[in-house]
């Protein structure tokens, strides 16, 4: 699939590059396996949180929510929406991104930023997260 015309905005250059890379890779996997990967990554996060409360499990769950929801409604999404949701999901499942998920107290903030940008881009900004709501353990 070609890159849609509408692009997520407001991301810094490094994050945007990484997102585009994820989008390309996400094209090669099925929505079902993406769904599974998101669930798996959440499970990893739970385990990491057991060892360090600094790993922001609440935010990870907050991000996974809209992802899982939209992935489940896959068939009803437009092609553009499918493209960017897959990209955001793929981004979420990588640990070593802009802020490493399990070693920075802000580990999931770039994932949330990416998700928000993608959601806005596909007209679902009502699902966007405010990261500061997830600061409490």
């Amino acid at each position: 699939m070609t890159v849609p015309d509408s692009q997520p905005v407001g991301l810094n250059a490094a994050v945007a590059d990484r997102l585009h890379e994820c989008a390309q890779l996400a094209q090669q996997v099925t929505p079902g396996s993406l769904l599974q990967s998101v669930a798996d990554h959440l499970q990893l996060t739970r385990e990491a949180h057991q060892n360090s409360p600094l790993v922001n499990l609440r935010l990870a769950e907050g991000i996974a929510g809209p992802l899982l929801q939209t992935l489940q409604d896959w068939a009803t999404l437009t092609a553009d929406a499918q493209y960017w949701i897959a990209a955001a999901a793929f981004y979420f499942c990588r640990d070593a991104d802009e802020e490493p998920d399990f070693s920075s107290p802000l580990g999931f903030e770039d994932d949330a930023e990416v998700l928000n940008a993608c959601l806005r881009c596909i007209g679902r900004s009502h699902l966007c997260l405010n990261v500061e709501d997830y600061d409490d353990v």
């Binding site: 409360p53 600094l54 107290p105 802000l106 903030e109 600061d135 409490d136 353990v137």
Partner: protein, 997 residues
């Protein structure tokens, strides 16, 4: 040889016969069979010392509380066990965020001062600029914050930087009121110290609490190497505008020093009453000193209220008047009509010529021959307002210049006429001086021993000299102008050329009741920041500086927090019949009134004219008021044209909390009552009270503890009680520990030394538990000998009580714990009392808790706070029947499970604490990330506009490189040190209570 498995951070270990807490473990060889174990000492001999042990060389054994040996207490009423437990409780660090001014020191904490402490403690990394107005007790607030940090184990190593003239004042204030010992180092002191320590040892690491003058230290070149390798827990810079105000700060030594220190310390406190000069960058620079990650702009010019929020407090007198009560007396201005005098006829003549001269100069402004208009139009006039002597000197200089440069100058005839008249005048015959004599008569001043002290200000050295001579003659006083004579005279003068040593002694004498000194004649330069209010409440402005800033600074010397009398202000004024003074009189009157208005207003300090500089104010008032006859010159700000100042003040007002505002919310930037974080409210406040559990009052602990020690130690003379005082003759080991003067031992006890100046001549310490007495003793010290109080408050942090605490702890050998009995418990019930701790990876206390675990004979089990368990055992009225059983066998299994319970409980407390801290940590990390992103962008944009080899480009690149280094350093030396919990909690068995019949 070593054990092969690596010790983990957080473990307690035994090494070289001392107990340590492991803070970090690094592999010491490639095969990972040996380790470098970084430790911090936890038992009495090595507490707070840092060491690195290599497993190749040292035997490092973990300490297991499960193997604690129980020692039956045979003392009467279990006194030994009680004192041991009390000592344990007293060395428990506090952990909460709430300040507790109770039993902290000899002072009356004002709510606004407690708020400052709350704000500092609420920060994960206390960094605060205290920018309260002149005279609101900034030093007290520093003392309070330091005390709270010390209670939390976060201020073991303190560095205070102050101006030379302020060193003793600061040092004695912290010692007298808080028992915080600051050892003074000067260059000679550092050199001497280096002779006593091994060559490779860092002199700044010898003493743990140090005060140094900025001038000594700013010679960074010679100390740089040492300073770069020293870390501090808290750095305090007094009068911090002195380190940030320079125009080219990068080349400014004091600024570079402060910048270096800021990066080598956990907490930092800056104090100043003049946090900015109207320029955004001076304030921005101060905030960036506190926290380099506050303002992204490398020039410190662009920042928002959010960037600087939480880093500073700026309160004015009116903000806190309600809080302050009697500590802030209302000042009285003697109506200016009463201090106005008519010019003498010969003075009128001179005023008349001056008036002509000014008119001529104004008419011919810019013409050849009328250069240096300032001096001609009002400079000479202003000097004449002060004294004939001062005027004559300036006039003659001007005459010489003009004659040499332009013999035909139209100025000359005027100047020559004035000179003739002026030569015939002296200060003693001047109208102003006669008014001074009249006012002195009113005050009852005659230079005799009983008369009130008076502070007289003048702007000019020549006036000061002439005035001193005249007063000495009229009151028949001996007076010498020699600097070293000043402290011993009835009449003393201080001015800018007075060397620091003599200045300090003169100031000290003026604040000492028993000193003969009755009058101080001061110029403005010499007196900034100095406290002169202790024995004086009369101030006379002999002449009138045309500057609001100067007048506020002058009045602030005696009108400040702690002045018990109403300060009485007098401004002397001369009135002329026909001269040019007529219109000026209104301006002078407004100036005086304005200063009083500002004194009674809020949110407006010295910055009324928005000029931020005494000289600029003088020029402005002269040119826009005096010369143009504009009597409304003082009614509005001078520089509406400077929007920068305007916006800076708005910015600061937006970023500073209101008095009484909820500081925690404020800190989080929350303004509405949105569901924020009710953090700490429950978890830590209860924790705070628990960590202050005491079985003895400070007084009783001192007496009983010392008595027990003196029964065991041979050279301990008994403590004498004398009313509310306890007199303790320091035994040899205390003298060594506190660093008594003349003590030539090889070892410098840097962690426990007290100021040599505070040492009592007779080795006798006088302690009391009554803060009012200490307050009186401080007053008495000022009346007789100077700064150092003879009586000290017995508090937890008083070094003598700390000595007793540590000595008592040592009475029980490592791995042992007292065992006592109680009839109030069920027979054979065992109650294990623990103090547990979760440390950060560097060993700083994160959660501390005293709790007890009881096993009942029927299999019952209970865990509860220590206080409850002690109450249940009737701890306060126990009788020792000598019937402790031998528990060795039966108790071993129970002890093991009690330790496990205790450790589990501590693990949970540690986890709760980390959970409480995490939201703050996330915010801080987010702030740090946003800062680095913005800063990187700014620097990169700038870099792109510069040619690649431009020096500025190199500077930019260097700053870019520094960002990562800074963030990495913050992570290693801050997050890991103070926030990240170590994997393992520790617990110590401190008492076992056995139920008996």
């Amino acid at each position: 040889m070593s054990s092969v498995s690596a010790p983990a951070p957080g473990m307690r270990v035994l090494c070289r016969d001392a107990e340590w807490l492991v803070t970090r473990v690094d592999p010491a060889d490639h095969s990972h069979t040996h380790y470098a174990v970084h430790c911090v000492g936890t038992d009495d001999l090595v507490r707070g010392h840092q060491a690195v042990f290599l497993t190749q060389l040292d035997i490092i054994e973990p300490i297991d509380p499960r193997k604690t040996k129980l020692i039956p207490d045979t003392s009467n009423g279990f006194r030994n066990a009680r004192l041991f437990l009390e000592a344990q409780l007293r060395q428990m660090p506090a952990t909460g965020l709430n300040p507790d001014p109770e039993a902290m020191g000899a002072f009356k904490p004002m709510p606004f001062q407690v708020e400052a402490v709350r704000l500092a403690l609420g920060q994960l990394r206390p960094r605060l600029l205290l920018a309260d107005a002149v005279g609101l007790g900034k030093t007290i607030q520093v003392g309070m914050i330091l005390s709270e940090l010390m209670r939390r184990g976060r201020a073991n190593r303190i560095l205070v930087l102050a101006k030379k003239s302020m060193l003793t004042q600061f040092q004695s204030e912290l010692w007298n009121r808080f028992g915080i010992p600051l050892v003074r180092l000067d260059s000679a002191g550092i050199a001497r110290l280096r002779l006593r320590i091994p060559a490779n040892k860092n002199p700044f690491e010898v003493y743990h609490r140090v005060i140094i003058s900025i001038d000594t230290l700013k010679n960074v070149g010679s100390y740089r190497h040492f300073l770069e390798n020293t870390r501090w827990d808290c750095v305090v810079i007094d009068e911090a505008h002195n380190v940030a105000g320079a125009s080219v700060p990068e080349r400014h030594l004091a600024y570079r020093l402060a910048r270096l220190l800021s990066r080598r310390t956990d907490s930092m406190l800056l104090t100043t009453a003049t946090p900015h000069n109207g320029k955004r960058e001076t304030f921005g620079r101060l905030i960036s000193l506190l926290d380099p990650s506050a303002i992204p702009d490398p020039d410190f010019r662009e920042y928002t209220a959010d960037d600087i929020r939480g880093f500073f407090l700026m309160r004015f007198k009116e903000d806190v008047r309600e809080d302050a009560g009697e500590n802030l007396t209302d000042r009285q201005l003697v109506p200016i009509e009463q201090t106005t005098v008519n010019a003498t006829p010969s003075e009128e003549q001179i005023y008349a010529i001056l008036s002509e001269l000014r008119a001529e100069a104004a008419r011919n402004r810019g013409e050849d021959g009328w250069k240096n208009n300032q001096l001609v139009q009002y400079g000479i006039y202003k000097q004449f307002l002060s004294s004939p002597e001062s005027c004559l000197k300036t006039l003659r200089k001007r005459l010489a210049t003009v004659r040499a440069e332009d013999p035909d100058s139209p100025e000359l005839p005027f100047l020559e006429r004035i000179e003739v008249l002026l030569s015939a005048l002296t200060i003693r015959e001047s109208s102003r001086y006669k008014m001074l004599l009249a006012q002195l008569r009113d005050i009852g001043w005659d230079g005799s021993a009983g008369c009130p002290r008076v502070l007289v200000f003048t702007e000019y050295r020549e006036t000061q000299d002439a005035l001193a001579a005249a007063i000495a003659a009229d009151f028949k006083l001996k007076y010498s102008a020699r600097f070293e004579q000043q402290p011993n005279q009835v009449l003393a003068t201080i001015n800018g050329s007075c060397p620091d040593v003599h200045l300090m002694k003169t100031v000290e004498a003026f604040g000492t009741g028993a000193s003969e000194m009755r009058m101080m004649l001061a110029t403005d330069v010499a007196s900034e920041g100095v406290n002169l209010h202790h024995q004086c409440h009369h101030i006379i402005h002999y002449d009138l500086p045309w500057s609001i800033i100067t007048l506020i600074q002058r009045n602030g010397r005696i009108d400040r927090f702690g002045q018990k009398q109403n300060p009485i202000l007098r401004y002397l004024r001369v009135r002329t019949e026909a001269g040019l003074l007529q219109g000026d009189e209104t301006i002078f009157q407004r100036l005086v009134e304005k200063v009083e208005e500002i004194n009674h207003s809020t949110r407006q300090g010295e910055s009324h004219l928005k000029l931020y500089d005494a000289e600029a104010e003088e020029r402005y008032i002269a040119e826009h008021g005096i010369l143009s006859g504009n009597t409304a010159v003082l009614e509005q700000a001078a520089t509406t044209a400077d929007p920068e100042t305007e916006s800076l003040e708005q910015l600061l007002a937006a970023a500073v909390p209101e008095v009484g505002e909820d500081y925690l919310r404020y800190l989080l930037g929350e303004t509405d009552a949105a569901p924020g974080l009710e953090i700490t409210a429950d978890a830590t406040s209860s924790n705070a009270t628990e960590s202050r559990l005491r079985l003895y009052s400070d007084r009783q602990f001192l007496m009983d503890g010392y008595r027990l020690l003196s029964e065991l130690g041979t050279d301990y003379t008994p403590l004498q009680e004398s009313g509310p005082l306890m007199l303790l003759n320091a035994p040899a080991d205390l003298r060594r520990r506190l660093g008594a003067p003349g003590n030539t031992a090889d070892v410098v006890f840097g962690a426990t030394a007290i100021p040599a100046e505070a040492w009592p001549d007779d080795n006798q310490f006088r302690l009391t538990n009554d803060p009012d007495r200490v307050e009186l003793a401080i007053l008495a010290a000022r009346n007789t000998s100077g700064h150092w109080s003879r009586e000290l408050l017995a508090t937890d942090q008083q070094p003598i009580l700390q000595w007793i605490t540590e000595r008592l702890l040592m009475l029980m050998k490592r791995g042992q714990c007292p065992h006592i009995t109680s009839r109030r418990l069920q027979p054979r019930e065992l109650c294990f009392c623990f103090i547990g701790q979760v440390s950060t990876q560097a060993g700083a206390p994160l959660a501390v808790d005293a709790h007890a675990i009881s096993f009942r004979p029927n299999g019952g089990f209970e865990q509860r706070p220590l206080r409850e368990a002690l109450d249940a055992a009737g701890f306060d009225q126990l009788v020792n029947d000598g019937n402790t059983s031998n528990l060795e066998l039966g108790a071993a299994a129970l002890l093991e499970s009690a330790v496990d319970y205790s450790l589990d409980y501590m693990r949970q407390l540690g986890r709760d604490k980390v959970n409480d801290l995490t939201p703050f940590l996330r915010r801080e990390n987010r702030r740090l990330r946003n800062w680095s992103q913005r800063r990187r962008e700014l620097l990169q944009t700038r870099l792109e506009t510069l040619p690649p080899n431009h020096p500025k480009a190199h500077a930019c690149q260097r700053e870019l490189d520094e960002i990562d280094a800074y963030i990495a350093d913050r992570h290693d030396n801050w997050q890991d040190t103070w926030i990240n919990a170590s994997a393992q909690p520790s617990t110590q068995l401190v008492l076992v209570i056995e139920g008996v019949q």
